[in-house]
Symmetry: D2
């Protein structure tokens, strides 16, 4: 089966590199175009990019010439890891020109007709693409977003608990340095240190989960009616965002009810058969001191969320610890999964029929 061409925007950055790493040997997609700022444009990717992941960039991509931001792209699918200001205008432009854009940037997440997709949880929110096509006059183009990386473990863990009426959430994060991109956090700032602040992060963490976990209405998402308080910290960890979460419910479940809900969680049926779908979506670990970023971030090839230490909370109802890989599940892997959902749901024109059937398996 021929693969679908994909363009990577912001290809030389930390998330851009993860896109490229994860797409090596992807069953549906092939990196055909790499796009970056003017400073990199015109050079072979291997030369333009300071590869910060392990090893070397895949050789097929290494020799691609980096295209400038204003290039005419041929790939039907665009994966974007652009900085917010550039994404603001360029992503809708590309959608208007007919590209299906799966973005990892925050610029458009809160737009009423743009979904924040975590397909395991809210695959149905993809229907907002129909709304945006109507609203904006796009024909074959689309724009969907991946959430902020900080909240992923919490949102995934809470999805199967919505039936108990999640009302209050306290979130304290310990976030990896890779979340800040490259060069990102200076080593002089973080070695033997914690930075108890990440610009803009707490605001996103207190808002985005309510949209992701909200219910799709005709032309928008009704935000989940819950109150969230977030405190975000940067710690000297390479990958993996760890979160301490306390939750208050309308109908307080027992600890066993919660563990049972996690164990039974198979995610939205439309997402189960996508190539990058996590299996399992959630792992509950009995280890008294788990999850830990270094030891659990690679679970399910970086797509599985690990939770542990579920216990009573003297203030709210229960508390637990969650972990997900911030540049895989929480960024590049998540945006690839979103692109897969768009293909499977028929939003990508001329995609092989075999693929659009996938999710129906």
């Amino acid at each position: 089966m021929p693969k679908l061409d994909v363009a990577i925007l912001g290809a030389t950055g930390a998330v851009g590199q993860r896109f490229i790493q994860l797409l090596e040997n992807h069953p549906w997609f092939r990196v055909a175009e790499v796009v970056a700022s003017d400073r990199s444009a015109g050079k072979p990717y291997a030369e333009a990019c300071r590869w910060v992941l392990a090893g070397q960039p895949p050789s097929e991509v290494a020799q691609l010439n980096v295209l400038p931001l204003d290039a005419e792209l041929n790939s039907p699918i665009v994966l974007s890891a652009l900085p917010g200001d550039v994404a603001k205008t360029l992503e809708p432009e590309l959608a208007a020109r007919g590209h299906v854009v799966s973005s990892n940037t925050s610029s458009h997440r809160m737009a009423a007709d743009v979904p924040i997709l975590l397909p395991d949880i809210n695959a149905d929110h993809v229907r907002l693409v129909d709304v945006q096509r109507r609203n904006r006059g796009w024909t074959s183009g689309a724009l969907v977003t991946m959430s902020n990386c900080t909240i992923v473990a919490m949102v995934v863990a809470l999805a199967p608990l919505l039936k108990f009426g999640v009302k209050q959430i306290n979130l304290v994060s310990m976030q990896a340095i890779s979340g800040a991109g490259y060069p990102g956090v200076a080593s002089l700032d973080i070695l033997d240190n914690v930075i108890p602040y990440i610009g803009g992060e707490e605001e996103k963490a207190e808002t985005e989960p309510r949209k992701i976990l909200g219910a799709l209405a005709s032309d928008h998402v009704n935000m989940l009616d819950a109150t969230i308080s977030a405190a975000c910290n940067r710690v000297p960890v390479l990958d993996g965002h760890l979160v301490c979460v306390s939750v208050g419910f309308e109908h307080k479940p027992s600890l066993d009810d919660i563990k049972a809900a996690w164990a039974a969680f198979e995610g939205h049926p439309d997402a189960r058969s996508l190539p990058s779908a996590p299996h399992p979506i959630i792992v509950y670990t009995d280890g008294p001191d788990r999850p830990q970023p270094r030891r659990d971030r690679e679970a399910g090839r970086g797509m599985t969320t690990t939770v542990g230490r579920l216990r009573e909370c003297p203030l709210l109802d229960v508390k637990f610890v969650g972990l997900s890989h911030n540049t895989i599940r929480g960024a590049a892997g998540g945006a690839i999964l979103n692109a897969e959902l768009l293909v499977a749901q028929g939003y990508v024109q001329n995609a092989p029929v075999a693929l659009t059937a996938t999710a129906a398996d």
Copy 2:
């Protein structure tokens, strides 16, 4: 003025070493005896001890012979950094033999007639020594304790806010490896990692603050009527426990009210002139990303608590970040300050009159 002799129990451990480091050039005290487990006893301190702090042990102490745990001690004051099981029996024995014991161990903290002293906050709790002497038939001996290190920044920050009626506290800690002693945390466990669990720590953090901040009654302390939820994490930081705190009040103060209370806080009058008393007790920092362990732990020679990022909390009333040095303010420095209070308050027999007058200045 001649100095008072002090014995250090657990002298070769991480907190024992801090005692010795902090007592170099202390105006009142002189390390006269060093006590450790049988493995170390009989050797010169420099040989028995693997010094883990910077530089070398002070030369006066380096040549002291390490005494065994059952040695007859001559020092009127005993500073204890013993493991809990040994402290359980040995500390009261030493008090019964007439020594004034200032302990850093948890074994006796919750005994009704033993105070957990942070003199800036609750110097009056030292009156429980009268109670314990009555109860236990001790004449010149005494036993006072320093709190768990995790809660110090939070407790100090809340002390000036008690007037607003502190009712609910959520605490998430990011704790330094030195809190686990030496060898303590294996590097294979903590490099590029966070461990979201510290044995017994959350229980202490949910209990001890209520005693420290409680009100002295005739023969015990009435616990503060507040609910605390704690989640404790180990991070790759050498020294300095950072805490994210949310607080709910009976009478919600404004952010400015809180900052004013912190700025005005001078601590209990009996503690102000003690040699190790912090000046100031609390610093509020306007830096958007402060306090940070590495950059703020040495404030006030490790005795000052730094708070920052005071802001509204969507769930409770306010939230902030606090930091204190865990092996200075939160352990050895705190226990030395407690011993100073005992001297100044006349609980150490034959102490020079000049010292007992100090606190009255």
Copy 3:
């Protein structure tokens, strides 16, 4: 094809765990027995072992009961990661009882009739097994050793250069904490620090390479006639030993001669088809700041040696930087490769004929 049973000695330690991790899905071997100290014996492996690698132990091994050191073993092949003192007597005993022992311990490395095997380099040294069987009256048993992990990158890099007459070697290592086992290096010792000393390491580094690179004579190995000076340092890195090497030759090659020798190196023919043989054995990297432990240690699934920065040396002839994964190529992976060689060369009784043919491909 049925797999050969393997017993792991020291199974709960850091190298023992790597053995178990690497043997998951091994084409020839199956972990049938796990052996550890009395403290662990009798418990299921998952309970006896504090797993320090990522994830969890493989489930087949997790449920094995840990055997005591004096257990009668059934596996024809024994992989040993015992502490030196225990290995000293137990390894030869097991060989005497008929087991083929592939050891990662230093105790027997320098015995005249025991080879230090790196099959890519000196597969022919396996003939010392015939000598030891003669000398010691062993019939089906054997004892071979893997070298010290520090020297592997250097030894592998020098093997293809022996033709130029290697005469002088200066080695400065920067070694990962995993080399010290678990708990091993205390985090208080290594965070924000380097320890310029590793007990016994420099002596091994100045001796073992001369045996590994030496020529097999009738009943022993003639040591390579070269002078080595080593300085060994511990750095805050999880895995991967980095070495700065300077070399003086009898017949000085050009830098291009050396690169050509590395590029052409295919290793000893008897080793090429073994399942764990590295492909390629050596990678030369043009990156100006490579190899780096974190980015290059996983090359060739941890079995490839990466070299870089080849340049003239003002003192000797040339200098370069080398890296190999210390617990894979330099320990568990290396000892597994040695066991594979023993099978392929017919030293394991009753091994399937198919396997002994492998190396002849």
Copy 4:
């Protein structure tokens, strides 16, 4: 006694900050002017500078307005931590305008009439200022430099050994991240990693020591006749450059001869009484695993060099480990010491007579 005004060039950078920190309460100098790039100029220092050291900038300096690079300066003494390209032209211009410039930059180190000063070692090289004044027509101005930070521990350790005829030096460094300035090394590059390359560093390390340790001739320095080979590595350490050094001598001394030479070393008499002179200059530590960056860098307030592990070298004659604080002894502290020497030697016009007498004590 009134203090001498000092201007700091590059005041907002990492070394600029160290200048300011070290000059707080300096007995001779007072920071009167802070100079930085156009981006910072015009703002109060506290606002222009992201302070990366512990605590906060001293309040007297915090409120100074940052001056632009082309400002007319009033301070007789200028301490420069400028980037190389800016220093290239600006430092001689300032000297031409009458300022005494003590630079930490590499641009002019190898100019024949500019000394690389480490006053303990080569205080007499300051006479090159007379040469440069003659050569360049400068009247009251001067330009002296501090060496590269990497070589300081080695150069200081070798100075007392020159009498044995130092002929060959092999140097492998493990350098702290602060040596790269701020933001400098990205945390994604150095956490759990070593970078075996620092641009331009090996060239400096193979050249500068020969000038520093050379003999002053009439109008230049005769380079020490020794061959140096250097390999430079960046390690995850905040401060303190550790070096593994091997040395070959013309007349090989015993290990005891070397220790005796180190113990007896008091440095050049003109440098002994300078306020920032290290006391002692060299400490030899018997600790088997010392010096270590974190535990020894603060020796002598960061100005003392610690050496240890002196032993025979199989290749050259002896080897040892050395350590000095790279941003204190190896940068800001060193350049301040150089400025003190210039004052004491009468090279600063209108300096109080009391100061010029100092060195004669």
